[in-house]
Every structure is written in structure tokens, then in C-alpha cells.
Symmetry: C2
Subunit: 303 residues, 2 copies
């Protein structure tokens, strides 16, 4: 069977926003459906997706997904993704994705990780001593909808991943000064609140994913837009949310606390903000989703 694959996405490509994960998960799902392929053991598809891009294995499922280390089978067949909880388990969880740069990364995450494995003397310790404990803690926190534990560990572990990148030789820097400023504002916000209301995590790029709860999204959105006025007019990719944020007045004491960082708002530091939540895995779209592309005359599918 000859197959024509047309792939496009609505997210910046190769900018550390998991575009390769989404792409490979979609590809594996589409091909397995086309060929009627069935898993011979649970998670087998995820071991295939993983070979395109590690994190693609997680993108095969919705909600909160764990990538199991495996390591008992020489062929890596036990390094699979497992859904910890579906997206319906914690409906209040929200994400603000701050696009700091949509330029191509200097170091691809796959190449970066190989160099880290070869040269970082901290990576091995992190992998052996810290990661599996942290996995248990964060899974438990998710199951209990405990945002304090989840948020704190998310930030700590993001920082440690980037610490290992810096411990690589030559060092890898994915975060930049804007990323650093976002981190600082998140800490100011949580200190001001006396609890964790926002948690940042950075993948292999300078863009921040901020997790929060539904009740704090407008406050967090307003705070972020004050210090990181976005470049694009439709800066928050959800008009209704944008209106709420624009109409919101931040507490003067929070603004005072943020001013003490002496971060100067600068249009363009953040290009765009996506407002989203925990969603499902790949979906097969039927003919009712087809839209004819004006340039190519071919069908495009919109969810």
C-alpha cells in the first residue's frame, strides 16, 4: 500500500513545544489505524512512537501520562507510556503556554540528551537516585489533585533538568533571560499568595508552560500579560479568556511585589500565549472535519 502523508500543525515546530511528540503520536496512530495494526501487549504502540521522538510515547494518551523507564528488556520493549489518569480526573487543571521564541532550537532535544548522557556527571545520579522517587510523588499528587505538591515538584524537576543541561559539556542552555524573568514572576506570585498557584516547567526550549487551577487562570494571565505584553494581536489563543484577562484588576500588593523584581515589561519578549487544558490523545477526524486548502486544493482536517 502506498501512503501519502500530509502533516501540518498549529504549534511552532522544533521550538521546544513538543511538536515532534505530537507529530509522531499522530503518525503512529494514523498508520496503525490504516493498517489495522493491534498491540501484542499494552503500550506497544508507544514503544514505536518513542523511536521517532522520546516524548511522543506519552502523546498517545490523554490526561496525565507516565513514560515508564523500563530497562529490564534489552530491546527497550518495556519502556512504555501509561495513562495515569484520563483528562476527566482533574478537570480544573489549566496551562498557559508562553511562547518566548518560536525560532528553531540551537540544540535538538534528542541530540542534547545524548551529549548529556555522555558528559554530565550529575545526570546519572539524577536518573538513578531521584527520578523514580519523584515520579511516585507526582503521580500520587495528580491522583489526589494536590496542586501544592504537584506544582512544587514540577518546578523543582524542571530546574533540575536544565541544571543537567548546564552540566553537559559543552553546556546546553535552553532557557534565556525571558524564561528567567517568567520564573521570577511565578515565584513572586506564589510567595504573595502564600501558596502555589502557578508552576512553571520548561522543556528543551525557552518557552514556559505554566500550570494553574481554573480559579487562578485570569489572575495569572493578567499578571503575565502585565510583565510580558505579547507580540501578536491575538496573543491569547482564546478570545473569551483574553476579554476576561483584559478586564481583570490585579491586587495592588501583588503588583508592588512584582515591581520589586525590577523586570521591565517589553513587548515581544513573549510572542504568544496559548491557554489550554488537559486534553485527549490523538483523534481520527472524519470527512465532516475536512476543509479544502485554498492553496493546494487538497483536504485539510480541522478538529
Amino acid at each position: 500500500m502506498n501512503v501519502h502523508i500530509a502533516s501540518y500543525n498549529t504549534f511552532p515546530t522544533a521550538a521546544g513545544l513538543a511538536s515532534s511528540a505530537a507529530g509522531y503520536a499522530a503518525l503512529v496512530t494514523a498508520l496503525s489505524e490504516l493498517f489495522g495494526a493491534k498491540e501484542t501487549y499494552p503500550g506497544e504502540m508507544s514503544t514505536i512512537a518513542r523511536q521517532g521522538s522520546g516524548s511522543a510515547c506519552r502523546s498517545l494518551y490523554g490526561g496525565f501520562v507516565a513514560w515508564r523507564m523500563g530497562g529490564k528488556q534489552d530491546d527497550g520493549s518495556d519502556s512504555i507510556a501509561q495513562q495515569v489518569a484520563p483528562e476527566s480526573h482533574w478537570p480544573e487543571i489549566r496551562a498557559l503556554i508562553m511562547v518566548v521564541s518560536d525560532a528553531k532550537k540551537g540544540t535538538s532535544s534528542t541530540a542534547g540528551m545524548s551529549t548529556s548522557v555522555a558528559t554530565s556527571s550529575l545526570l546519572d545520579y539524577r536518573a538513578k537516585e531521584l527520578v523514580s522517587k519523584r515520579m511516585s510523588i507526582i503521580e500520587k499528587a495528580w491522583m489526589e489533585r494536590d496542586f501544592q505538591t504537584f506544582g512544587r515538584l514540577t518546578m523543582i524537576d524542571s530546574n533540575q533538568f536544565h541544571a543537567v543541561c548546564l552540566d553537559t559539556f559543552p553546556p546546553i542552555f535552553y532557557m534565556n533571560d525571558v524564561s528567567k524573568n517568567i520564573i521570577q514572576i511565578v515565584h513572586v506570585y506564589n510567595e504573595w499568595a502564600g501558596e502555589i498557584r502557578a508552576a512553571y516547567t520548561f522543556d528543551a526550549g525557552p518557552n514556559a508552560v505554566l500550570y494553574t487551577l481554573e480559579i487562578y487562570t485570569v489572575e495569572l494571565g493578567a499578571l503575565m500579560l502585565k510583565y510580558f505584553p505579547a507580540y501578536c494581536e491575538k496573543y491569547i489563543c482564546n478570545n473569551q479568556f483574553k476579554c476576561k484577562v483584559d478586564a481583570f484588576t490585579l491586587e495592588p500588593s501583588l503588583v508592588e511585589a512584582a515591581e520589586r523584581t525590577s523586570i521591565k515589561p517589553c513587548v515581544g519578549d513573549v510572542k504568544k500565549i496559548y491557554f489550554t487544558k488537559s486534553g485527549p490523545g490523538p483523534k481520527t477526524l472524519g470527512p465532516e472535519h475536512a476543509v479544502i486548502d485554498s492553496k493546494t486544493g487538497l483536504n485539510k482536517y480541522k478538529a
Copy 2:
């Protein structure tokens, strides 16, 4: 005895350029001389200087100095500085100090270190498993004037120190985007040369100390000034060296390699460059060094 202490320095203060180390070393030396104090065991003075600022213990001696961990005595009296080799041992070693910012640091190094000890899960591993081995390797490299080993480990260990700062919670960032660009240019230079000709190290601030050998100083200086044109007119604090750098033509293949980083030279990213070498410890200056300060009418001493 009443003592009037007048302290001034020619280096930016509290900017991560060891100003407190220099200050406390000078203070301890001046007071011990004034009072005729003698050490009851070798290195005792360094345990006193260390209490003002950890790194001050090292500044009591010239050349290459090791700060011994100690840890056998509860009162810390065995955590002393020791001269590994005097400044005459490796006369070819040079340093270019790139002042990225002379603004006061967000986090003092002493406060930063306490937070790291309390929150970083990588610091303990680094301290127990890596530091003492690295100390032996670097001392040996210095004794053998082995710039390849010395330079490589200097960079690796600087990166690891900053990795631990990033693994602190909330994370500490001493380096900024300019520091990162300096690191990138140093790696380009070494890769181009096929050997290590320059090695960076960053203390608790964004400023780079670049070690090199006398034969490469002009080339390295010219490369750095091309990508980091300094703010201040007297940007290199040594006129003779500045003239040599200005007259130097960089190899086209090196410029090509550096261009591929897409780093855009920007006046002001680096404020000033000090060109210096391994020197002696604190010196007592006699009346022949006294200069009357025009503002205060008091004596100032110039080395």
C-alpha cells in the same frame, strides 16, 4: 587601640568579582600586622578571613591557592587555604575579566550557598563524590602547567556550580544571556583551534573570567572585543594590550566559525575588560605609596 579603617577598591563591589574576598583578605592582613598577631598553626589567618567571606581565605596568598574542605574539626579550624604554587610557577597564565554587569547581585554568594545547601539535591552528591577528585586533577594540572586539563576542568566545574544554583529552590541564576554568548564564543574558539586556548569560569555573577596563555591573549582579546565591544572607552584596563588587540587581524576561518553562532555584537553587553595575570597576596604599602586624596585630604595608598 582604636582603629580607623578606610577601605576602597578598584573593582566593582558585590558584582561577583570577589570584591568581598579581596576586602576581607586585606582587612585581616592589615589588622594582624597592626596588632603583631601570629598564627598558632599554618593557615589560621585564612580561617579568620573565611568568616567574612568564604573565598577571602584564598586571597591571603598569591598564585594558585586551594581552599581545603576540612571537616575533621568541629570548629572548622581545619578548613584553611593553602598555596599550591606561587605566582612565579606558571608565568604564562593570563586572565581576561569580562565585566558583564557591575550592578549589585540579586543574590549574595553567601546567602545563595545557604539556600543551595538546604534545597539542592545535586549539591550533596557534587560535594561528596566529585569535588575532591576534581581538586586533585586541577592541582596536578596546575603543577604540570597542563592548560588542556586545567582549562577543560575549569569550564566543566564552573558549569556544574551554576547547575547546582539552578537546582536550588527557588532557582538562582547568576549567568545571563551575555554570559551564555561568551561561553559559546569560547567553545567556538577552542573548536576552531583544535585545542583549549581559553577557559571560562563564572563566580556568583554574570561576569566571565577567561583564562588563557600569554601567546593567545591578543587573539582571544581581539575575538572577544569583536563580539562584545565594550562600553567604556578605556575598555581594556591596560593601554599597551589594547593597542596590540586593535592592531590584530583575526583569521577569516575563525570569524566564519564565530559568525555561525549568530551572536550579534552589541555595545554595552560587556562594560569593561580587565587584562591581568596571577599575582601576589596582600601587600603592605609604605608611605612611598601614599597619595593625598583631593576630595578628603586624607592619604590613599596606591600599589
